[in-house]
């Protein structure tokens, strides 16, 4: 096999594995969200399909597959068809640069392969932010192409919201980038090795606690989740930008929202909580004399961090009511943006001073 063919085969295998994990996670999330929300509100959640309702995601998937696909009269058919895909692809494509496990390299047929990251590009964070912005197009175009006032209002709201909050996401990340001196997620994660106080959330010389808070709030807003779910406010806009969507296209939007949640959680874990690094140096399996299996422990730590973020998403949804639109804008521009900017200044000064001291 030629070198190109081998590279392609390896990459496709990695992509398939990552996509599989993400889709399975999304399936789990749809069930987990309904269950956790139910438990928090003294309900039971889905209980009918399978024991304790654990087969509910499959029932939902089958239902959505076989639903009639309706395109409303007067809709722009091309954009109406494009929008869900435009929403889904950026949500999934971001996982290409997320490091899931230790930064190992393998030699397969003379090719160097990193098994736990599909592509270690040196602008990883920038790439994720760029594609997240393209995802906003899917929402806006979906809202516009539906020929419905609810969809249009939802789309417009989401445009304003995503632009405002993406700024805060980008600015809150810059502190971490200054500390590492790299945009690559692999290098950012590697730089946080050792004890948990080396994670950028706590790391000297400039703990990124404020940036972390800004990032978490902005990422909740960016994924259109409660309490920032104005684009799909059920009580006002029916379902917001996907009011007119049904069947598989609706499933795409749904999948994109949950994939975005997973992506945002992965990025938060990688940037602020050390990614796949355990809170102690090295791994336990390595100490037990199984260094070739230590990736399992690292991956588990990554999963734990990501899932605790996802739990936070559910928890916020169970607790908080929706913000008013002007409150949302005021909070984004007048509170979070100054904090993020101040964090950049403080981090820069701290890094500069600590470099001069050396």
């Amino acid at each position: 096999m030629s070198e190109f063919g081998l590279r392609l085969a390896i990459s496709l295998t990695q992509i398939a594995a990552v996509m599989g994990i993400v889709v399975v996670t999304v399936l789990l999330l749809t069930l987990a969200e309904r269950k956790v929300l139910g438990w928090m509100q003294d309900r039971m959640g889905p209980m009918e399909v399978g024991p304790y309702g654990i087969l509910q995601p499959f029932a939902d998937a089958i239902k959505l597959f076989f639903k009639e696909d309706i395109i409303p009269a007067g809709a722009n058919k091309f954009l109406f068809t494009m929008a869900p895909i435009l929403c889904l692809i950026p949500a999934f494509i971001g996982f290409a640069v997320i490091p899931w496990g230790p930064n190992w390299t393998l030699e397969i047929g003379g090719i160097t392969v990193k098994p736990f990251v599909i592509s270690d590009i040196n602008i990883g964070i920038l790439y994720i932010l760029a594609f997240a912005s393209i995802g906003a197009y899917g929402i806006i175009l979906g809202g516009w192409a539906s020929n419905s006032k609810y969809s249009l209002l939802g789309g417009l709201r989401s445009a304003a919201q995503i632009i405002s909050y993406e700024l805060n996401v980008g600015l809150s990340i810059i502190g971490v980038v200054i500390l590492t001196g790299s945009l690559s997620l692999v290098q950012i994660t590697d730089a946080q090795a050792g004890w948990f106080w080396n994670w950028y959330l706590f790391a000297l010389p400039a703990p990124q606690i404020f940036a972390f808070v800004v990032y978490v709030i902005s990422s909740v807003a960016e994924t259109n989740r409660v309490p920032f779910d104005l684009p799909e406010a059920e009580s006002e806009l029916v379902a917001g930008f996907f009011t007119e969507y049904s069947g598989l296209r609706f499933a795409f939007f749904f999948l994109a929202e949950y994939a975005n949640m997973v992506l945002v959680s992965c990025v938060a874990a990688a940037l602020f909580l050390g990614g796949w690094q355990a809170p102690y140096p090295g791994t336990i399996l390595e100490l037990l004399g199984l260094p070739s299996l230590s990736w399992i422990e690292s991956t588990m730590w990554f999963a734990i961090k990501t899932y605790s973020f996802l739990f936070l998403f559910f928890w916020l949804r169970a607790t908080l009511p929706r913000l008013r639109y002007d409150q949302l804008m005021k909070f984004g521009w007048k509170v979070l943006l100054p904090i993020a900017l101040a964090n950049i200044v403080a981090t820069s000064i701290a890094v500069f001073v600590s470099q001069q001291m050396k």
Binding site: V36, W39, M40, Q41, D42, R43, M44, M47, T319, L320
Partner: protein
């Protein structure tokens, strides 16, 4: 009026609460405590059902005496008592017995019934009863238009223990509100 130090302290504490998301954390603590002390109030309805109260007023039914004869004497009082005009009685003489009447036809339009129980109260011979059935959702509204046979069938399946026909009651005479001997008198 509060002293300036007091109001300053108040403002400081409010400011601290704002920047630490104190109120949100209180709310999140409440939801988490519900998650940890999970006690659902849900009743899994088709699988488990509530115990109905003793005086539950469910589906209406026509009753029979223990010898299988209908209790209804066709007096039309239930029709008169019904506030929603659910009941329609076609009363007729028993052929060959001019003193005895019965309901030749008896219809209930249960789409209109509001389950007030006035017909049951009005009935002089206790021929009407309210069962504990409530699962009467149907696909066709006309299925709720019940005739006499259906109402008797409901009564048969809901009241397996039937009242004795009065011994002193002449088969040709309808007695109204006669105290039953086998029923203990009400304590006064």
């Amino acid at each position: 009026m509060a002293s300036p130090t007091h109001s300053t302290r108040l403002r400081l504490s409010e400011w601290l609460k704002t920047i630490t998301f104190y109120e949100i954390l209180v709310g999140m603590k409440a939801t988490l405590s519900h998650l940890l002390n999970y006690q659902p109030v849900t009743l899994q309805y088709p699988h488990e059902k509530r115990t109905l109260p003793d005086n539950y007023r469910g589906m209406l039914a026509l009753l029979r005496y223990d010898d299988g004869t209908e209790k209804c004497v066709g007096c039309d009082l239930c029709e008169a008592a019904c506030p929603s005009r659910v009941i329609r009685v076609v009363s007729a003489e028993v052929p060959g017995e001019p003193t005895k009447r019965y309901s030749k036809e008896y219809y209930m339009d249960m789409t209109r019934c509001l389950f007030c129980g006035m017909c049951v109260d009005a009935c002089p011979v206790d021929a009407l009863g309210m069962t504990r059935e409530f699962e009467w959702a149907v696909y066709d509204k006309r299925q709720l238009h019940l005739n006499k046979q259906q109402l008797l069938a409901i009564g048969d399946r809901s009241f397996p223990i039937r009242e004795k026909r009065l011994e002193l009651q002449h088969p040709n005479v309808a007695f109204f509100n006669v105290p039953f001997k086998h029923v203990p008198p009400k304590p006064n």
